[in-house]
Symmetry: C2
Subunit: 462 residues, 2 copies
């Protein structure tokens, strides 16, 4: 066959890029587990009617059919019953998993889930059709205290912060609260809250004047109400003073509402805890409107500082009804990291690199094919002590074997001891092919310096 | 919504089962990396015409369509051009990846790949529609020495052997060699080698008499030739004597062929190396015929001892042409572990268990909601030293908080120090809720015994 070309929207990495992705996933997993989140995976498919409960995502779903499906038994294309689609996020499958397994789970249930998701949209501006998400959620049975809305973004701040050492830029987690926005709008006398949110969501794109006009046209606002909404959206900050600023603004406009009070208490608690545990990372930003139509409390977005145009790499919020079986309601709060978007920037933007593209720290040279088993024995001895090793592909000239190691970034080449023509026995030697230094070595005791043992993922300039 | 029910053929695990699967994957990954295999992932989809190059698998492919696909631009169902399907193994995508990235890879290229695959077949007798495979392959550019056919099953023997400590039964890797079979048949004068192999493949199902009849009817064999083929198929053993037995049989039937000599040299080398490095694990079994129609050299199947009816959990072989771009041919050898089949038996058969279902070793109790930040601070201090911790969901009575830990299998509950009514300050205490023992503890120095730190995966009877 001819050389295949990549499929747009379906990213794949060379081994070095995969090392970066794997490292990111390992760090996330470790942080999530340190915080007591249990790992689960769900199947890649869900019944189509389950995936389409949020109407707006219908265009994104990949539907499956079996190639040899019996045409007589195949459902009509317009009949969704029984058809399967690929999940487009990990929240819908998780909600289904919770309902399906509720009797076997202890609530509040803390889980992390790292899997691929698929969206059938046209690939553009860094959007993928297949990508990895890393989610954490806490879900309660019946109720879920607010403190989880404080805890979860701080877990993500820690997880993303742990990536700083490999060269990931600092992150800023922007938070808002549906209750603050809705309470403020209702206090002003505006009732079409979703229309106001839709307008505010366009602020960065179309600017305040156009948004004010939208609020008047589509949300039934007066000029004064629209101006008040824009004033609210202009408030941001990383300490509790933002609560006072919102209160002062609400008083000035005569906007009072119980929901606003609840929301401000919540947002204040989040900002206070964040200032203590992750100073400078969490910023209340009252113009965040995306997601406020379906989240019911806190909402989170996360930008890489200096790469804001990449969009949010970690978003989420609180749902009062993540799932319900008619008897019990399961509220949840969670965030989802767009791992592929992040890794794509780290690798594609040259921010991060792996110190080599293969696991092996050592290539054991082969003197002659008949002696391969001696080289194998050295490899076995080194691996027994946790050192990654491969044996040379052939008994080529040593120069060629060294070049083979060099091309793959393997730092050490091991040479077997030899008996020379005079019967003098020389022991094994190991060569650091970067420095050229070659020293006697014993496979049962030698080890490479810790920094050479496994490939490391490091800042690209390091 | 009503409580959902599982989809047949799409296995999912509760958190405890996922811990078992994750442990298996971690052990495999570590072994593969110690042997210098680089990890890659490929996209879940391939162009349909690529997936259908092996005609016999066409019925298994899940084809994708976008739900809102423009009907005018949608390809006709009979038109395969441009359509995408989910991969049904990791070999086809790997072959494509090698061709696509050949300029960036160093050959021989060693890779492992652990991913889900999908097959649209009706689920039955332990067959899944979605399952995890763990593959290792070595692929060369132009040529690939035979010694890799010796090395790769030994890597799998080591990987599966490393699972013995969690209660995985011992494995037996059965090997055969296309060249031995083909050379023997041709030496006998039989030319329809694939027909002979198809007959021999039915030996376990229909018995030797029926196979002999098949060989006569469908492979054009005489009764004597059929009998010789059955004699060959009856040879098995884990030492080099099998080579002599085949030679003796071939001489007795006057079967000589260059391919037979080459194959016996290869098979002998494999059995000899295996007897040294993994005694008792690798068995030459000359009745293994499955896969010999497309493999060109060694072929491998692996059974769990005592669970042979489960079928092969790790299969593979050598392809002289894993991929080809018309200029360069890429031969490969590899094996694939059916991880879901294995884990399903381990969990479903009660062979293996996790010591708890959540990562947390410690639940930090909350005395009163206003003091939650004190509990959070203890959790931060413990996590800083690598101890997985969660904080109690609410400031319920301590008995209820202990029951919460107990239900989740968390072994330790941490209580904050208190100042009593007389102003006497008591320090923090930690309780092992299994023994009831409660001792003073300092969050900056206390640590649980190593065996309690993380959930462990252990034999179920242990």
């Amino acid at each position: 066959m001819a050389r295949p070309t990549p499929l747009s929207g379906f990213p794949e990495w060379l081994p070095e890029g995969r090392l970066v992705e794997q490292h990111v996933l390992d760090v996330l997993r470790r942080t999530f587990e340190l915080h007591g989140f249990a790992g689960i995976e769900t199947r890649a498919v869900e019944p189509l009617e389950q995936l389409l409960r949020k109407g707006e995502t219908s265009k994104e779903v990949y539907v499956l059919s079996r190639l040899q499906e019996d045409p007589d038994s195949a459902p009509d294309a317009t009949d969704r019953a029984g058809r399967l689609g690929l999940h487009f996020d990990l929240t819908v499958p998780f909600a289904r998993y919770v309902l399906e397994n509720a009797g076997h789970l202890a609530f509040p249930f803390r889980r992390y889930q790292i899997q691929k998701v698929w969206r059938g949209e046209r690939p553009q501006d860094g959007r993928f059709r297949e990508f990895v998400q890393a989610d954490i959620d806490v879900v309660g049975a019946g109720d879920l205290p607010y403190h989880y809305e404080v805890e979860l973004p701080l877990v993500m701040a820690e997880a993303l912060g742990a990536l700083r050492e490999i060269g990931v830029p600092p992150v800023r987690i922007l938070v808002n609260n549906r209750k603050v926005a809705e309470g403020f709008y209702r206090g002003l006398g505006l009732t079409d809250v979703d229309a106001v949110l839709r307008g505010i969501d366009k602020l960065d794109k179309i600017g305040p004047d156009a948004v004010a006009a939208l609020l008047v046209d589509e949300a039934g606002a007066t000029q004064a109400q629209a101006a008040a909404c824009l004033e609210l959206a202009a408030i941001s900050g990383d300490d509790e003073s933002i609560v006072d600023r919102v209160r002062e603004l609400a008083e000035r406009h005569g906007a009072t509402h119980e929901l606003l009070d609840t929301g401000l208490t919540e947002l204040g608690a989040l900002v206070r805890a964040a200032a203590e545990r992750a100073p400078g990372v969490v910023v209340a930003d009252l113009k965040i409107a995306r997601g406020l139509d379906y989240y019911t409390g806190s909402v989170y977005e996360t930008v890489l500082v200096g790469h804001e145009q990449l969009g949010s790499i970690c978003s989420g919020g609180r749902y009062d009804t993540l799932a319900s079986d008619g008897t019990t309601t399961y509220p949840g709060v969670g965030l989802s990291i767009g791992v592929s978007r992040l890794v794509s920037r780290l690798v594609g933007g040259g921010l991060v690199r792996a110190t080599r593209s293969v696991p092996s720290a050592v290539l054991v040279a082969v003197t002659q094919e008949e002696d391969r088993s001696r080289s194998d024995a050295v490899a076995v001895a080194l691996r027994a002590r946790g050192i990654p090793v491969e044996v040379a592909p052939s008994a080529a000239k040593f120069g060629k074997q060294i070049r083979h190691a060099d091309r793959r970034g393997i730092p050490y080449v091991w040479f077997l001891g030899q008996t020379d023509d005079d019967g003098v026995v020389a022991g094994d030697q190991v060569k650091d092919i970067r420095s050229g230094e070659q020293v006697p070595a014993d496979a049962t005791t030698w080890r490479p310096p810790a920094e050479d043992r496994w490939p490391r993922v490091v800042p690209a300039e390091g």
